[in-house]
Amino acid sequence: MWKWIQKLASPKVFYETTNKLIPWFFWPFIVLIIIGLYWGLVLAPADYQQGESFRIIYIHVPSAWMSMLVYFIMAVAGGIGLIWQIKMAEVVAKVSAPIGATFTLIALVTGAVWGKPMWGTWWVWDARLTSELILLFLYLAYISLNNAFDNPKTAAKASSILAIVGLVNLPIIHYSVKWWNTLHQGSMFNDMSNPSMHPDMLWPLFIMVFAFQFLYGVLALVNARDEVLVREQNSRWVRAVVTGEKL
């Protein structure tokens, strides 16, 4: 395992690996998103309380989960870059930030749109919504800090520290519905063996969660591949890749 990580830390091997992996993430994403959307929008029955409006769950929940998962990946990759000085970990952290910020924005916007017919308001300063909004600000701060330095090493160092400090917000988001009396509903998955959703509604949700994971994978790989080219532009192998010359 360690040997494999060391091998992947080489920019050239990393570039070649990302290139090979892109179709393995792209096509499962396409298949899963088609199945998930059809099942969620057409086959799944309407909710007995919320009616058809519950269908927003199929984009709101996966994007909210991904907003936290991507932040966790970004902070861990940033930490690896800080501790072991692995440049490719810095690349993973940097390219994850805009994707994670977009997932957070989707979660906030779809939540607001869902809130209007259900709660009668677009927004409330509820613990879950506010902590998710703080997550968006953390992503934006990370992106700004990363772009504020000309030296990629300094940029990665400063932004990784911010990402690690911001990790404290993840348990707050997760447990906010338990710790505080919130308007946002509680977790549906406290007991996985007995979820509070019918399988006809639950399965498309799981499929959409997997689809969003593959979506993150494909976007992170594509952006990481390009970021490696920029960082290693003075290497002979990058020149060979771009110009088609032989090494």
Binding site: V109, V113, L215, R239, V242, T243
Partner: protein
């Protein structure tokens, strides 16, 4: 007549506005991520090609 009532002829009736608005915004944002990746791909390769051409001259 509210906008939600006006758009109630669409699938999902009185919730059509909210459902299609959510899915529409999500689609646009995800499309934006793909477009950004595609523009970066072309931009980076073109900049590097110019740089290497300059170095060869």
């Amino acid at each position: 007549m509210t906008l939600a009532e006006t758009l109630s002829f669409l699938p999902y009736g009185k919730y059509a506005l909210y459902i299609w608005l959510s899915y529409g915004i999500t689609f646009i944002l995800i499309l934006g991520l793909f477009m950004r990746a595609s523009i970066n791909y072309k931009k980076i390769r073109s900049q590097l090609k110019k740089k290497y051409a300059r170095e060869n001259d």
